[in-house]
Amino acid sequence: MTRTVFRPDPPLPLPARVLWRAGTPPSRAGENMEKRAAEALELLAKVVNPSAQALTGLILPGKLEDAFKEHLRGSVSWTILMATLGGETDECLKRLQMGGEHLAAHMFNAAASEAVELLAGNVHLRMAADMQGMNPTARFAPGYGSVPLSAQKNLVELFPGMGVECTDSFYMTPSKTMTAVWGWMRQKD
């Protein structure tokens, strides 16, 4: 099993993605909302502390094998990823909410949700580029498809030191954290 530690740049999604996530088509958001989306991204850039780690190996740790084997069928190896924006993002969101800045909180939440997905997507792409002769499968996570939510605890246990915890109801803190698993398949000659 190989552990790779990433020190990514702050993942900043496009304002249009933030507007979509916030619930408005970008073309009809209006100037005010476009400005608010941009402000949310500016704030996110200041507070975000992204980190990501990936574990790659040939055999999944025991408890995870049952959860993921169906989705990894045909793969010769696998990668488990954890990506997080860090605790300060949650603190910032809480401050906005406590201050009654609901729209700012809503936009910031949308920006942060897009950012953590972008972070995970960037790592996925980067690893795919580095893996010669291999194609990655799609990413899977606890709660999707037949993967039970309970697998979240097992995944989090594999990444001590990242500052991520998992409650008994499988909620991860900091909240803008993602885990994912994918397989590697040989490219056909």
């Binding site: 496009l14 507007l19 916030a22 619930g23 408005t24 088509p25 009809r28 958001a29 209006g30 100037e31 005010n32 909302m33 608010r36 969101l93 909410q97 009654g100 800045e101 609901h102 729209l103 909180a105 809503h106 936009m107 939440n109 997507g121 996925h124 792409l125 980067r126 795919a128 580029a129 194609n135 990655p136 499968t137 799609a138 709660g143 939510l149 309970s150 409650t167 008994d168 109801s169 499988f170 909620y171 803190t173 909240s175 490219q187 056909k188």
Partner: protein, 775 residues
Amino acid sequence: MDAAERLRNLLSSRVVFLDGAMGTMLMKRGMPPGVNPERWAAENPVILKRIHRDYVLAGSDVVLTCTFGGTAFRLGEDPERLNTTLAEILLNALDEKAVPGASVGPTGLLMAPLGELTWIDAYKAFHKQATALARAGIEVFFLETFSDPRELKAAALAVRDVCPHGFVSAQMSFSEEGYSLAGTTPEALAILVEQIPVDAVGANCSVGPDSLAAPVKAMVGFAGKPVCVEPNAGMPDSDGRHTMNPADFASRCEDLAWEGASIIGGCCGTGPEHIKALTSMVGRRKTGHSPGKPPRALSSLTRVVHLGTEMKLVGESINPTGRKDLKDAIRDGDTGFVVSAAGRQPRADVLDINLGLERMIPDGFVSNLFAKLACGPPLSVDLSDPDNIELAFRELGGIGLLNSLTCDPKFIGDRIETLKRHGGYAVLLPLDSDGLPENPDDRVRLVRRGLAALREFGFPPRRAIVDPVVKALASGADPNTTVKTLKRMKKAGWLTIAGVSNISHGLPERRAANLAFLVKLAEAGLDLAIVDVTRRETLSAARGAQILSGRIPASGGIDFEEETSRTGNPLEEAILRGDPRDTLIQAGILLEQGTPPADLVERHLQKAMGRLGSLFEKKKAFLPHLIAGAEAAHVLTGLLKPLLETGSVRSRGTVVLATVRGDLHDIGKNLVALFLEGAGFRVVDLGRDVPSDRIVDAASLESPVAVALSALMSSTAVRMEEVVIQLREKGLATPVLIGGAVITPEYAERIGAHYAREAFAAVEIIEGIMRENGA
């Protein structure tokens, strides 16, 4: 069965798969940077054949030649030999497993007047390339990655002239913002392609699949032809590499199939593995394409003008009659003067270009002028000579108007081929060799004969716009003849156009007559009015007449930001805009004027929130706008609370609100609280991660009109059922409302709760519950 027929058959039954990138694959197989791909591929036939075969194995239905840069402008001398060689390599590779096609890309030069490439030179270059490919046995052509629709049209007509029965797909490349380099939108491309002799329209390159969903949707709406899409493997990274993995590519392309794309392939960065994932994800499914009658519109390089809705204005200023300066400029070949005069009509939806006596026009003037005018509004080509008409229509970047044709079949026959080839609408005058009938019914009868003649020439009558003819008052003509004729034409379902200013020829005071007649014609339903658009009163009269006749609503088709500035109530507008600062200012003004605080709540705040909800339902406002409005409302209630006498504003009821035990999400819950307070409810917000018994205790204490619960995880949603059970065991019939990402209507029904799809819906649902309970 030939290749084009095979492809058409495939399209009639399912989504068709193209191949992926060629350049990317050549580089992976050893092509050094900086070499010409076509030449290198021709020198390495084994590698090229292998790439074609890999795409077949991956599931491509159509595989394209390596001839993207195959014109003489890119290859230099002897492009025919290279195109032939590359076509032969493809045909040898395929063995009837897949449909062979040609990739034809742009010349790489800018069209005049920005660049040196003329329309005719582009046409000749593509004609040469297509001839070589067709001779080698190619009948299917994908015109890819064009950024100027004029060059694309030149390529499409050249290929069609070489291969009259072949399959041609006309495609452009759009940025993430939705424009080609020339400023054309997917909608404008679809409107053009609908009328030129090609089989499909499409978009490829520049962006990944995410950014092509909107262009696909636009093209499906306007084209009436199958839509082809070939995305890149995502956006390039800092090294210029496209690295979207096959699974992500395929899943996003599945969205494109869902949006209606009929042919899907890949562009830069894609390879056989992307195509394999794509074919697997999309599978064998019917296309979303259904041939129909798309909406009618005129277009230019950069603009689209829809027909058949409100009246559009055609600028009449480019007409040398009575204008010596214009006459001289045309005679002297001064296109700059004419372009400048055209530019002084910014309010025109369409520009009519009349150049007077055409025998006085110098050589090259028509092509140069229309090339320079291509970027502005769509054009009405007010020319009579068939050669000049052809030269003008070649330069149009979209769909123009030919002003005009008579109903005489010979007159039509001499001119209609240009419109059939380049696309366009024809203005049809009720005139023939016997002149203009005076009676409205006779005019309509003559037009019917003209439409039948158009049909016989293979020109669809729905592309005709009929003119009731305006004759000058000074000649003794009765304006009512025109109005009656127009009404009969509208009753027949035809699009109409009229030269309004003709009414006042020879009169001393023209403006008054022109305006009055414009109003009459607008009320009668005129679709296109040729008028002096430089006068503000013209625009006001046109708009006023249409509002009075109900053709356009008094508020127009305006967006949210305009909606919020039209209530005439500054406090309401401030709340609608979500401007807390202005809300406080406007509220302060009203309080100073003696408005009771309770009135501010009931007459302004609640009215504004109700209006916001209505805009939300009409999809003119969205969730962020609701939040902004609710925030402004919250600030107002904060100001008014200490001022309101106890009982002066009745609370509509109490709602107990919580995120259930084990769940730490609270953003959605907080929005529910905000909206409920804005709607006049008192909210007891217990927070997040709240045990079920605490929620039940609060319900027992507060006697709320409802309990509202939020959960965002399947592991915590089960607590909602727990709350319902505990409430009922305690004898409380309090309605329970549930919401959250994992909550479904079925789950709500199962546990005996009400389902709120989104935060704002909570207000409506609780109001509904109260109405049911007789509150």
